[in-house]
Symmetry: D3
Subunit: 218 residues, 6 copies
């Protein structure tokens, strides 16, 4: 029997992990892989800087070593922290949600807009997308300029998502990626309001991981 | 209740459709979307030229119009024939297996090799990949130089796949895409022998389509 | 003796064909190739969508087969419909006016602006230019937002062309391509008013076709 | 009445100018623009180095100033020496044969091979093609490794052209550009033998210049 | 003993050469290479056009031939005039200040803004940067729209530098290059006011030249 | 008075630090910045994997915090470990030797070859160069396939360097970067033998750092 898809929230905010869990509820199917959301207890409360991102690399590597039962791992932070290190040690596929979210968006539209939480991460994302070699498909990235925590509970989040989404559409975006692990609850309503595909990156990564697992069962 | 993922074999060879069906068996999960493989009866027996590819566009568009129950469509020919036309008329997502296969491979490795059936399609694929904006990630494409029909039953197919796969690895490939709708049966053994990820593009497209459907059920 | 350059208007609007004919009058030189403008009677009245573009592919292929006397073919619709299919069957060169118009513009200036008829075609053109590998030379594309029919007779067309042309210049364009087969009559006046080269794509394609024919007569 | 297309041979070898003249014979049509081939007497006997290329810039600018009757200029040396300077002073279009040859080849095939005279110019051409933004379409460049003078009369030239052409085809070239002003006589036979389009860059530039002139006569 | 780094001001304005000299004062270190600033007396008073740029090529080549004692040359005009010709004849490294300035800026930030003197040079710089293959790192270029002479003494220069610098920052620039040989005096104050790295291209080129000389002394 | 340039050897092998020190001897000039080579005692004995590279990030950040006297930092490992984290916390410029080495090589030649120590790092470097946006200038990377320790003392190192250097030249390289912090001793002899520029990346980074320091003293 195949092991679970282990979705790692690299920050130590259990509320974020719980949100991930709810966002993946419909992906748990009878006969399909289990999907387990875990919190990296060594992580900071939120990953909001380059340093936060670097601090979780070795704990992530340790967690991966401990979970030898996993069929696949997902690093559920939009900076894809530790993706290279985790891949270098893991015997099973490791998916980063930025990478998976963008690649999935590229299957839905030509030019992609990214909704970031904070402007500070825009440069980190840009370097990562250039490294991915997909920059010619990116219409732009714009930030909500809220903290992860605010977006998680703020009532103004959806209003702000619409504003930023519309700005990205006027930049040329034909699909959006939510650049954060914790906004899945807004995905469907935002897609409805804006009329273009909206991708939750964790759901995108889990889809890809499920594909890997299921392909091995043929 | 959500409709089925309709996987369209755009050639009229029912054996290919049956092969697709078997390749997707493990993707049919209780509670998940139905996956229905259909044959485009108006298609040629195999799609082996640019003209074949163009001949199926309008029949595909018609089929899509008839299947208003579908939750997503998959065009299961590696040339992604009619992808633009189908997307322009379909109210639900349409996935091409070349696009999905490549994007999925990009989530598994940096540089990708493509195993084509015949050399004649190499240029068509190259233009498509340049249009996708992912050329910097492509290590190369090499052809089996067999007909679709030969690959479907030929006992020599697996031997040839290994040869071509090894050549692509020496070109720099770190993951392979099987550039054909009918080679899923060889995916796992080839991955085993070569030691790098091997992607069946129809499975990749179905994973992405499942992700779309399941995300709508949250 | 060499055959004619056959300029195919892929829509069934004879007025457009007649306009092409007038736009090419000065290209008919004694001793040079004949230039024959023909209407694809099977085509829609105007090509204004992806589907229109796909509908003419097989009729174009048939027309090419019938005209075995041609020295070269020109597909005179800015979407270059059926260009791959036509090339795959034609024994003589086939030119698309989008491709020829852009390449000719690249010989006149560094950054090119495209005047489209309708916004809806902008994405189709963008994908085609990315496939051509010339995106780094494109300053932008802007639409008149008129129908083909309106541009053909509208008195406001020239005013609108100037507005859009000036907007493209402020985007960085140093030469313009008229993104339509039916605006040749405005080429010279627009060039005069704007002070930068303006390319009619059908004339550009005919020049290239003439070069092919004449080079064979050395 | 329109003035002539002035084709400038920037080296002082009259035999090369005479060859240009013969290569353009069929482009002289009744009612079309005159085509006049002139020798830059201040030029070196052959342009075979960066320094040679730079030495002709100011004499070219002077020649352009003297020929205010011209309808267009063509700089008939594959290095396109002085193209920027000439364009900055000329009131009429200036075509470089490298640029025109490559752009014309791009209308005939996806990937282009260049046959250079000498390896020493390969780097100069590469920088120019990167500046043009068309590098993704270049299959390769290979040199005959002969002097301009040798190619002009050498009986071994055609044999060597075939060898180099075949090597470029195996590099992926689907059309060739003759990277020299003096090989037009070999164009048609080489195209015949190799089975892919072969472009003489001076003919390509003259076609484009004719297009400019004729478009102004509508 | 090693020879001097010869910094060539290709215009004949001695005040510019004197400014270069002052801008390099701190780079003259005991035991390090001498740094000698020389005026190209054959040059125009300022290099403000393509033609000016081409006029200095052969005089630069001659100067390089005369200075066989040099350990390295720097062409201190932001157009990098004659860089290819000078490199083709010089036995020692030749640095262009545009190239060195941009490469140095790329070591300080991801996206670079260029402050040009005049809009007219923007296209020349753009072509050069595309040829360098670094366009994906350029945020933009904006001009002071002053003459070289004005910038050299104008009291309004610093105010204008701040305006243009702020505009480039809003374009995305994270470091600036002063696109002129004569603005070093403003470098430090501008960096102070804007809060991002500001590169003087002549200082950048001299640093690189010093590195070459010193590496040869190990 | 300005502080020292602090060159950090991120591995704990003091012999490597001592080698860096010797390689920079001639860069220590009276009146210029001090150059101090320090060992990251928390580092592994050699950085030969992705994990090694990630392990030194936080210790590097700590070291930077402790050395508030520094005028600039250099991370002297060719993987540029921790470059983003260090830059995010350092008040002074931080140079990575891969980045500096490549940028410096780009000022010396058009296409660059990289001599890696081990094949395993080739992918890490490729991703980094793609992120830098300079891939179009890279001729190739080839590995010595020796350990850092072997290269440090092996008598066969120079022979192997010549072999690999010649292979890179046949790949098109016109300058080489030594892809390791510990091969400076071979730089000048290799340049002599191969006849093209050879860049030691630590020397390149120190040159750039010196430029930063000296520019602040004008």
């Amino acid at each position: 029997m195949t092991g679970p898809i282990v979705v790692i929230n690299p920050n130590s905010n259990q509320a974020v992990t719980d949100g991930l869990d709810r966002a993946l509820a419909s992906f748990r199917l009878t006969g399909g892989p289990a999907i387990e959301c875990v919190t990296l207890t060594e992580g900071p409360f939120g990953i909001e800087s380059q340093l936060h991102s670097d601090q979780v690399v070795l704990p992530l590597v340790d967690l991966i070593a401990r979970r030898s039962d996993a069929a696949a791992f997902i690093i559920a932070c939009y900076s894809d922290p530790g993706i290279d290190a985790c891949r270098s040690v893991s015997p099973v596929p490791v998916f980063g949600i930025q990478e998976s979210g963008l690649l999935t968006a590229l299957s839905r539209a030509d030019r992609i807009g990214i909704v970031a939480i904070a402007e500070a991460s825009e440069k980190r994302h840009r370097l990562y997308m250039r490294r991915m070699g997909v920059s010619s498909r990116i219409a732009g990235e714009r930030a909500l300029n809220m903290t992860v925590d605010e977006t998680a509970r703020g009532t103004g989040t959806f209003t702000r998502l619409q504003e930023v989404g519309r700005a990205l559409i006027s930049d040329g975006a034909e699909a959006l990626v939510l650049g954060c692990a914790g906004m899945a609850v807004h995905r469907a309503p935002l897609e409805q309001v804006l009329g273009i595909p909206v991708i939750d990156p964790t759901q995108a990564a889990v889809s890809m991981a499920m594909g890997t697992v299921l392909a091995n069962q043929i």
